[in-house]
Each structure stands twice: as C-alpha cells, then as structure tokens.
Symmetry: C3
Subunit: 386 residues, 3 copies
C-alpha cells in the first residue's frame, strides 16, 4: 500500500503532494531486529508495562486496531486481519523483511534516532536508515550519558568533568540532545543552574550508587545545564519528553507548562527547546511555541497511539502552533509498525485539518501546501541543519 492511498479526504493536488512528500522524522528510536512472540509484540504496541489483563489483549486499543487496519496490507494481508493472522504473517516474512516493508512504506527520507538506553536488540541509527532507504542521524540521550559516566567515575570532580566530556563527545556525532527528566523528576524542576558546591556534594552521593537510575534533582539539573552548554556551543536543539508516556511517569508532572521558567532561562541563550508528545498538554505546548521564539513542538507518539482519534489531537495542536514551529516525529520504537503508523497518522490527521481549513475557506491552497511542507520536513531541516 502506498502512502497516497491512505489519505482520508480529497485534497487539491499541491496539498496532496506536499502531504505525501518524504518526511523528516526528527524523533524515533530503533526497532527490534529479532522475531517476536505475541506477548512481546503486544507489549511493544502499548505504553503499558504489563500484559493485558486476563481475557483481554493490547490489540483491543486504538493502536492495536490501527496495526490490523493499516499494517496488515503492507504485509499482503487484508485490512483488519485478526491478531493471530497478522502475527503469523509477521513471523513468516521474518523481521528484516517486515521492518524493511513497514519502514519504506512510511515515506520517510531521514530518521533522527534517539539511541537512548536500549540494547543491541534494536536497530542502530545506521541500520534504520539502511532498511528504511533513508538518511539517519543520531540524537543523544543525556541521562544515558550520565549513567555511563556514573558507572566509571572515581570522584565527584572527575564525574563532573567526565560528564561534560561525555556530552561533548556525544554531541559531536549528533544532531540534537534529548532529556527524559519528565521520567526522572517531572518538569516542575527548579530552573536555576545548581551551584558547583551542591553538585559536588550530590555527585558524591551518586557515586555511592552508580548503578541506580539518576533521580537526584540537583544532578538532573546539572546534567541539563551541562547539556545546554554543549547545545549552545554546537548549535543543537534540546528535546524533552513531555506528557504521555509509560507508567513510570507521573502525568500531571509532565505538563510542559511546568518548564516555563526553564524555557525563559534558555531564551537569551538561544538553545531551541523541542517538546515531544505533550498529550494531553499539547495545547500548553502549542502555547509555549506560540509565545517563545525558541520552542518547537511535535506530538509524535500520540498520533500513533490515538490512531483513529488522532485528527482531533492534531486539530488542537494547530489551534495555536506557529507553522514554522511544528515538527513531524514518529516516535517509532520497538516495532516498525509504530514508525509506519506514526507517519500514516501524521499524514491522515494533517490531511483532515487542512481539508477543513480549505473547505471553510480559511486558508488558500498554496498556504495549505506550504504548511504541510514546513511541518513534514522544512522545519526539521532548518532546526537540525540537515
């Protein structure tokens, strides 16, 4: 199935072409290279950390229905194939062929891959590019760099210096940095850069338990500001997970508006802040992108997970977000289905929004086409200097 067959509405030629043009996926992660059991596959199409309750299945979610509807045809099955049929066909084709088909059919020209905390069972950025017939670049996860540093450092002072070096080394090969402080603390962190004394003290405590997940607020803030220094030096944007995610998150502390003080602090420094996912605070994110010149937004993951309901979410984001501030990201992760559906629902939901604006005589055809181009690839090329 080609992308062109999946738009839900008739659109004027130029708008259609702009929507179907290759996308820059500014935020995804790797997908598994191995064959997957049904249990494993179900876990990878949801953010739930557990199997579905007895007698139920994670296929009975909007995202599960979307896999059956839209990915089945890419594997030569009828739409709405039952889960067992879908998974049997997946095994029959083998993971390499499944990944190749789903990634290529997504119509993505470049993947920016968060190589985060995952292991060798996931494809690397280069492999994602190769299978997807696309360019590939890396986004580095700053909490992962800290973890690596903490496990090797011998003293607080060497920890601090190794952290700076680790970030600089990572940034040298990357097109952006990413923070998951929403998971480690929440976005209601103190926006001020912590003093060196308190960082040294916290680093001392940290080195007593270097294998633990970093949750110390002082070190998380130090890490963030060290990342800001590196980002400023190299002209890189800083991505933040906000909103919807896995059950490790306290959702009410992942509202990007809670970061307003930090956003203000970064404005004179000029480091772009990219808010990812955001749901159900995507209106707050659009507000921040509207009033702050250095804030960008992408609802990535959410379009895949809300699937048949994604048009309303996209519509709400478009209420305030400037056309030059929104990005496309699939947040593909774990299985290639998520990349595929990320691109598909991005195109479907934006198509719907543009069709409404054209039918209402709100936007001109050239404007609608230009907006689709900006969000789909233009803004990412400018921001990440691809």
């Amino acid at each position: 199935m080609r992308a062109r067959d999946t738009l839900p509405v008739e659109l004027p030629g130029p708008v259609r072409e702009a929507l179907l043009a290759p996308l820059v996926d500014h935020h995804c992660r790797g997908v598994r290279r191995d064959d997957l059991t049904r249990a494993r596959f179900e876990r990878l199409i949801t953010e739930a950390g557990t199997p579905a309750p007895p007698g139920t299945t994670h296929f009975d979610t909007p995202a599960g229905a979307a896999v059956r509807r839209w990915c089945a045809p890419v594997l030569d099955l009828d739409p709405h194939a039952p889960p067992a049929v879908y998974l049997a066909r997946r095994t029959e084709l083998g993971p390499a062929e499944v990944n190749r088909r789903l990634l290529r059919a997504a119509g993505i020209v470049a993947f920016l891959v968060d190589t985060g905390p995952d292991g060798p069972e996931l494809l690397s950025a280069a492999e994602m590019g190769r299978l997807g017939d696309a360019a590939a670049d890396e986004i580095i996860r700053i909490e992962q760099i800290e973890q690596d540093v903490a496990e090797k450092a011998s003293s607080p002072v060497s920890y601090i210096s190794a952290l700076g070096q680790g970030l600089a080394d990572g940034a040298a090969r990357a097109v952006g940095l990413k923070s998951a402080i929403a998971y480690r603390h929440g976005l209601d962190f103190d926006p001020a850069r912590p003093g060196r004394g308190s960082v040294i003290a916290a680093a001392g405590r940290r080195l007593a338990r270097p294998g633990a997940r970093l949750t110390d607020p002082v070190l998380l803030r130090h890490l963030l500001w060290a990342a800001v220094d590196v980002a400023r030096e190299r002209g890189l944007p800083l991505q933040f997970h906000t909103g919807y995610g896995d059950p490790g998150l306290d959702l009410h502390r992942a509202d990007p508006a809670l970061m307003t003080g930090f956003v203000r602090a970064l404005q004179p420094i000029g480091v772009p802040v990219v808010l990812l996912h955001c749901y159900p605070f995507h209106r707050q994110a659009a507000y921040l992108a509207n009033v702050f010149p250095h804030v960008y937004v992408d609802i990535g993951l959410v379009l895949t997970r809300t699937a048949a309901g994604s048009a309303a979410v996209m519509g709400e984001l478009l209420e305030l977000v400037p056309f030059h501030k929104q990005l496309f990201g699939s947040d593909g992760h774990g299985v290639a289905e998520t990349c595929h559906l990320g691109a598909l629902y991005y195109r479907r939901s934006l198509a719907r929004a543009l069709a409404v604006r054209l039918a209402d005589d709100e936007w001109s055809v050239p404007d609608a086409a230009r907006v689709a181009h900006l969000i789909g690839s233009g803004n990412a090329r400018r921001l990440y200097r691809l």
Copy 2:
C-alpha cells in the same frame, strides 16, 4: 420514544444492534419518589448548589435543553416543550409513572446503585430495578460507612474495628465500593497506608466530633486502605469520583492523574480502580486505563451534562482508552431524567464516534459492534462478575 429512534447517524445493522442492546449501568444513584417543585427539579438537573440567578433558569443549560428535547416525548409531549409545560405534565403523570417511563425507555438491564448518603426520598436499589424492569445491585459508599461508624464508636480502637466490620458487612451485599475522597480531600492524597499509631490518634480526634463530615487526611487514607483490604478479599472493584462534580469540589485537585502513586500501589494487590466522570481530565483517565492493567474508566455524569456537546468528550476518551476498560454509567441521580439522558447520550455519542471510524475506514463493522458491546455491558459483567 424507543432508543432506536434516537441514534444520530446511520450505522450498519450489527453496530446499531450492539448500541441499542440493553446496557449495564455500573454507576447510578437513586431517583426521587416524590413530586417535585420547579425549584427542586431545576436543582436536580444541575450540579449547582443554588437556584439559577434571578431572571435565569437551570433549563438554560445543555442538560436542561436535553430534558426538553429528549424526555418530553417520553412523557407524550412534543420535543423542546417549554419548561412549564414539561413540569406540568410531570406532575400530571405523577412521579411513579414518570420514573417508570424514563427508566424503562433508557434500555438498561441492570443498575449498580451507589446507595451513598441519600435519604428515604430516593428509590432504593431494589426499587430502581423494579421500576426500571432491570436487575439491581448495590455499590457501597465508604465515607458513608465511616460516618455511621463514627457516630456509634466509643473509642479509637473500637472505631477502627467497627470500620473494618462495617466495610466487610457492606461489601458482603455489594458488587463494588466507592470513594468520594475527591470531595473530602482531593486526589492528591499521600498514597501510603497510614501507620496504626497515627490512625488511632486521628480516630481520637474524630470521635470528639463524630457528626462532622470526615476530612482528616489520615483517616480518609485509613478508610481507603481498609476498603482496599475488603475489596481484595472479595474481588470487588473500587470506584472513585474524579473530575466534574458539585461546587464542594476543588476541580484541580480532582484530576485522576494525581492518584497515580496510589494506582501504582494497588497494582500488585490487584484491586481494580474505576475512575468515574473524570471531565475535564478524561484524557488523563484514559491514559491511566491505557498504561495500568487494573484501571477502568467511565465518563458517566459528563455525557448527561454536556448533552449536545457529549460527542466530542466521548471522542476524546476513545483516543486512548482500551476497548476492554471503558464502562457505561448513567450517574443517574435525583430525577429519572438523568438516568434516561445518561443512556441516551452514551448511545448517541458512541454512535457518532463509531460512525466516524467506519466512514474513515479505520475499524471494521464487526470490530465496531464488538467495542459497543464491551463498553455497553460486557466489560461491566466481567469486572463486577454479574
């Protein structure tokens, strides 16, 4: 007027039949058995605690317009009957006949009735069932049990033991328990079970003012954990009022995401958590149901109150909620119109959502029918083991 005449869209036969099939109403309260003045009736079609301001009427609300539109024909009046005509006809028919007509026309096969804090002017669960030609079971309100215990206990120790006994006795005749801690404290309560020492101390203070409404955070948490013990033992779910309610509520403290820590604490225990109402935090509620295996959601009251606007709310809930986690509840209370409209707007709003998914070629007809069946009754039968 039969339920089948009230769907707002054309739907394929199986979907239509699934929507019109009898519902299990997993959360309602009793309705008044007596004839009502206009002032009293107006108060019961709103959450406002006061009459409408001078020169206005509570009929000038979405719910008021819905009463005139949809309940008037059940009383043999034209749609949109003026309030005075509607109320005159209500009096003419008498409360028993009005209740009988509105409850039966709701198409409900079983009522799970929160017998909470209300007095003898409300129909009992058994009476609701008899008038509505339906089965009826009870949900016990834990704060009400505490109130009864506090008024009789002679010492902190006997209070604690009577509370446990009261909950156990209540649970023995019920299919679920319900907490209104959102009203008493807010959902931002400490998720930990309080220690026995602090409970005894708090119980001592409580017994000095046994007639007061319980608002002590330690005792509220003790009550909640005692309810968890009983619910686990008997395999019962624990319902929570969240979101929209009467003016006694601080809405921003009724966001169910604030309960995330408590939800996490209950996960290994396995007691199902049922989030009621939720609005305007229904997306947060759907998120919790999506990522935690033991969380269920129902927007009950909200469909009745938002009435003509309910389709958008239902659409937003469906963005993330797993199909096996959503329930139907009318939150009917006070007047049978609220039960009737709860069922009617549940069907209308879900019909709209399903029609969109079918028209967009997102879901198959059998899937849409199956989802309607699960939400309308299947999930409740499984969860409450009816």
Copy 3:
C-alpha cells in the same frame, strides 16, 4: 465585506439574524492610532514578546493567516493577500481609515474598554466608540490604579486610603473592574482577605520601590479585596485574566479552577466574577460558571488567536456553560484587526456549534436564536446593566 457573508454554514433565518445582530464587546482594549512598521504590526498580531525567529514571520500563525484571509477584503484586497501587500495597503489607507473600516465591519454596538496600562498611542474608549460607530464604556484595571497610587503615596496608611479612593473613583466612571493577578502572582493565591497589619507592613515595603511592578502577594490580595468592596457597593462585576496570554505568564498557574476558594468566598457577597480567555482551561471555566451562580465566562482572545481552529474551542466551552453565563469579548488590542477577527470568529465558531446542534436535532430554532442573542449581547447588557 459584511458580517453576513462570513458565516461558514447555512442557518435558519432567525438564527442567522441573531448571530449577525450587533454585539456588545464586554472586553477589549484600545488600538493604535499611528502608522505601524511591519515589525510592530507582527508583534501586535501575536502574544509573543519577540520578533519571529530569523527566516520566519508571525504571519505564519493561525491569527496571521486570518488577517490575510478576512481583513484583506475589508481593505479592498483579495483574500489571502501576501503580508507585504496587506501592510502596504494598510499604510496607503492610513491608520484612521483602517481602524474605522475594521471596527465598523465588526458589527459591534458597544465597546467595554479596559483602559489598563497602555499609553496615548492607543485610542481611548471614547475614540474606539467614535471610530467604531458604537457606544463605549470603561473597565478599570485595578493593578494600574495601584501603580498610580504607589507612585504618589507617602505612607502605608495614606497608600491604603488612596487605594480605596482610587478604586472608588475609577469605579464611579466604569462599568466593571479587571484584575491581572494571573500575571502578577498566578490564580493560586490565598483566597482570604489579608489582615490590616500585614497589609501595612507590605505597603511599607512597597513604598520603598513604588515604580516596580506589584508582585507582593499580600498587597495583590488586599487590592483584590478592596476592589471587591467597591464592586459590591456599585454593583459591578470583576473581570479576571485567566489562561492564555503573553510570555510573562506561567500558564499552569492561570487555570481559573485555582481560584475556586476565592470564587466561593465571593458567592455570599454577590460580586460577579468574569473569567476571560481561559484557554486551555476553558472547560474548567465553564464548569465554574455551571456550578456557581455568580461566575461568567468569555474566551475572547482565544477565538482570534486560534482562528481557523476556533470552532472546536467554542464547542468545548458550550459543553457545560449555561446559556445565561457566556459573554462575547473580542479582546481587541493594539490593531483593529484583532477586534474585527474577535467578532468574526465569535460568529463563525458559534454558527458552527449551532448548526451542529440543529442538524443533530438537539436544539430548536428558537432556542438556538435565543442563545445566540444571549451570548452576543443579552447577557452583557444584564450583567453590566448597560
């Protein structure tokens, strides 16, 4: 272009007439009297405090697209005129003619003008009325009165007394008062009236820096309660900025639900509370208007800024707001385009909502017309006793 040509849907005659009837704009500010550079104009069509990032323009926002679409024809240009063409025509006509055309075409019969903190470059209330061929009244900004008093007072006691006098004098010529405490502190302020001792102490500190922007929580609360006293005495409503605004705001502290305690405190006093803008907390605002008899709501600014996306926002407000509690306000400010678009998107978004309710057979034609009349002017006339 006449207002009648700008409705997006067919509507029955009486509904159409009610929507197109002259509006009472219960909340706007003055517009500039001078010719504007492109940089200045761009700043005035956004809440951003800064120019758009290099290579971008504030015209690439929903509001910017709306200026080109809907204001261009009022200046005899084609819809969707490019920004440069639009601004050249604006200069050619001159500010007086541009203001005259845009204000008159808005179809507004009375402006209630917040004369707040702005200087002589803005039209006064009287001038707004004259250019717009409308009546004009004043709303006084209480923080501005405090600023004037602080700069003149010689002692804490004289500050307190001058503040009371200043508010009384302002109220004598006004139809309402307005607070911007959302910007100065956030809406999570202590609802209690501060004691005289703490006010005197705070006033002492204040007089040491009389030119600074007032942010002291005690004095802000004193100011608010002094305004309540004056409002009660004169029967005036008290408007509050809530939700969406410029980057000086912490959005998560501008949720009107945070003011619930203060709203409760005002209920027995009877001073009406008018919540402005509210987005993205407009559902919370509608809830407050639904359950408290003295709360009113208007999403003003938001309709202009969300423009092509405004129908969804209006739809959400209408989910719960009583028909006698919603108001129309353009929040026009800086350029007459904002007044014009405020009225236009109010009519367009309400037209859409009414059309849906009529098509769904939810409301009768007379009801829909009556609701449009109430929101457009009736409620404001009653509330402000115009």
